[in-house]
Amino acid sequence: MKFKSLIITLFASSIFLATIICIWKIMATLQGLNFTSLNFNLNLLLSLGLTLICIFIGNKFNHLLKILILSLLFTILYTFFTENSPLWFSFGIFLLTLFFTNKLKNYNFKYLIQDFTSEKIVFEFLSLFAIVFFALVILFPFYIMFVTSFKTQTALLINPLDLSIGISKNIFEIFKSYFVIFKTYDFGRYILTSSYVSIGTVLITLLFAIPAAYAVARLNFFGKTFLSTSILIIYMFPAIVLVIPLYTVFSQLGLRNSIGGLLIVYTATTLPVAIYMLQGYFRSIPKEIEEAGLIDGQDWFGIIIKIIIPLSLPAIASVSLYVFMIAWNEFLFSLMFLDNPKTFTLSRAINHLTGDAETPRQYLMAGSVIVTLPILLIFVYFEKYLVSGLTAGSVKG
């Protein structure tokens, strides 16, 4: 039992350390460092040694002092074996090993003797590995998008791996792509259009959805069950089957290339989910409050304005944010309905940029950062509301 746990710990932990060091090395390569081999085997060997020493020393020594000395030792050895590594790279290795040895704090012989430890250890390292994996897989494209927007086309063609931002250059040089897309490609206008469209969609959707949701949630009328089931079914129909008829009708009515036309379509496509989400919340409001309002002589309109809306602000917030996100990110309808650059939304404008093969990629990425950043900031700031909206609306997407 003892040996099994020990061996599993050794391998699980050293594979983990070797892997994160490799990832660090790859990230360093993207800063322009010239590494040509990952040396995974060497990493593994060094990590094995480190883990072994760590476990053998156990608690016999001051923990902080132990991990500092061991990490320093490991870093020096590693730097010795690696070709031309600068100081910041070694410092990164040092921090990683420090973190790692700190994780090994509990793993002494006493712990390894216990039952079922080997499974627990594997699970723990798998979790750690999963954290690194998810963070890397998700953030890497965003990182590339962000960093590329600060580079120049020639620099990227000479060495596509060098994504470092020269801090020594002046600010105008670094933010050049952003200046260019605002000046030459008129992105200021597109930001405004996108904001108008998104905020307009939110307002109109709320205006239509709140009364409808109230009726579905509270009032009795003929065809109520039919209506509430059909809301979800309608919601399942995708935009692509609506596109051709809407395109023909809109061209004949002259609604193409107009913000108004876009607003109508966005509102209609987000209405079902907005009604669905709001009516669920309205049902949870106690009926007695409304009855009190009725006795006070309020009509339905007054009840909605004075009682329902103030009480369901959280739900309204999450619906608004969700609808805003859909409208801001929407692409298919803006592609179909807008072909005059004066009416472009941000998404459509970026798509238009790629239509010209000559457009340097850093402009494309600068545009992408501009369209992505606001929505990510809103998401991070209002995460609680948006997540509840997403969960309710996650049938779609």
Binding site: P141, M145, L157, F222, A239, V241, P245, V249, M325
Partner: protein, 419 residues
């Protein structure tokens, strides 16, 4: 008393619902039915434009006489393929002005010239001239004459409203050699995209359900791929995977893992030689499926996480007492608890992935073996500009969708309400 109250209630309900229902009907339900209509017609993109009679007004001075003006109307039919019937023309003039040589087709009444031009065939053109005269022999203000725009209207057949139907579109869709391949590609994309997203979602949910340092950070970034705009993310991926100077290919070459760059989005097949047997991997399709998984696993994650947090804690405590390790807990407690939600999630996500358009369109545009049904709608309707064919493909999508929904409601519709 009570009947009148319930009447008021009914009436209020209908008033409150009316705007929303009308809008949804006009923009969502009407197009679905309109698709049926259009799919039985031979319509091309250029036929949609309604032909209009147009006139360009040119005002010319007469050299010797300022009280007379010559006006030329350049008349034309805007369409080169369709006729216009019963074209009517009218133009207004200021006071004291009269036309001299009025055409037979026209008459002058209360300072207005009204003409009936009859039928204009496709591509019709005519220069229509009149000379006007100021009755008191004063000078004519040219600007005033120019300011009035002539009014024209006419009747034309709207090709969408005629009643000649054809089955040609459906014949083309079904008898096309590629139809089975189209269906298979759509199915692969949908099935593996859904499956992958759910598996990754289970892992992510299991991870976030534990306690660790930086958990809320991981939970927020897990949703980034879904929250970010498709356009930006798809182009970032194209850049990452670019064969010439994309980051992934450069890294792989740099570390000597591959010798030549791989065009991950532009190569239809990758031949893998494994144990002497050759496999053909649909490379571009696989890449697109990976993008799909990457972008939509957050939704599966959210759904599963919500369920995981609802599993009673004592189940795990009992397992701890019995000495079960984390893997056993996962397979014997967690997994059985979430199977119901997984099946619902699979059905719903399957339906949605089946309809995905933007992702593939932006990554490959349907080239190199990634043509799915939704992309085909766009290609037929707008790239080949055959609206009728596009609608016919839309109808195929709607029919399949309805089949999926019936299966969904038959299998788990009732269960969905319980969870």
């Amino acid at each position: 008393m009570s009947t009148s109250l319930s009447k008021i209630e009914k009436r209020t309900a209908y008033i409150l619902l009316l705007p929303a229902v009308c809008l949804v009907f006009a923009i969502i339900l009407f197009p679905i039915f309109a698709n049926v209509w259009i799919s039985f017609k031979e319509v091309e993109l250029k036929d949609i434009r309604i032909p209009e009679p147009r006139a360009k007004k040119i005002v010319k001075n007469k050299q010797d006489n300022n009280s007379e003006l010559k006006i030329i109307y350049k008349l034309r039919n805007s369409s080169l393929i369709q006729d216009i019937k019963e074209v009517k023309f009218s133009d207004k003039f200021p006071k004291n002005i009269k036309p001299i040589n009025l055409d037979k087709r026209c008459e002058f009444k209360s300072q207005k010239i009204k003409c009936i031009f009859g039928n204009w065939e496709a591509g019709y053109r005519e220069n229509f001239e009149i000379i006007i005269k100021e009755t008191n022999n004063n000078d004519i203000n040219i600007q005033k004459i120019k300011a009035n725009k002539p009014d024209l209207n006419g009747k034309s057949d709207n090709i969408l409203l005629t009643t000649d139907f054809t089955l040609k579109n459906f014949k083309n869709v079904f008898l096309n050699n590629n139809f089975s391949e189209l269906l298979m590609t759509t199915f692969y994309f949908t099935f593996f995209g859904t499956l992958g997203a759910i598996i990754l979602g289970i892992f992510a949910a299991q991870l976030v359900n534990q306690k660790f340092y930086g958990r809320s950070f991981i939970r927020s970034i897990l949703l980034f791929p879904y929250v970010g705009p498709v356009v930006a993310l798809a182009y970032t991926w194209t850049l990452l995977l670019d064969p010439n100077s994309g980051t992934i290919n450069s890294l792989l070459i740099n570390y000597g893992i591959i010798e030549k760059p791989i065009n991950l989005l532009g190569q239809k097949y990758l031949i893998i030689n494994m144990l002497g047997i050759e496999f053909k991997l649909r490379l571009a399709l696989t890449t697109v499926i990976f993008f799909e998984i990457w972008r939509y696993f957050p939704l599966a994650f959210l759904f599963i996480l919500a369920r995981l947090q609802g599993i009673p804690k004592d189940l795990y405590e009992a397992a701890d007492v019995d000495g079960a390790g984390p893997f056993r807990k996962f397979f014997y407690i967690t997994l059985p608890q979430i199977t119901a939600i997984l099946s619902i999630l699979f059905m719903i996500r399957f339906i949605w992935n089946f309809n995905k358009f933007e992702d593939i369109f932006l990554l490959t545009g349907g080239a190199s073996g990634t043509l799915t049904l939704p992309i085909s709608v766009y290609q037929q309707g707008f790239a080949i500009s055959n609206i009728g064919m596009g609608s016919a493909v839309s109808i195929v999508i709607v029919l399949l969708l309805i089949t999926f929904m019936i299966i969904y409601f038959k299998l788990i519709g009732k269960k969905a309400n319980e969870i």
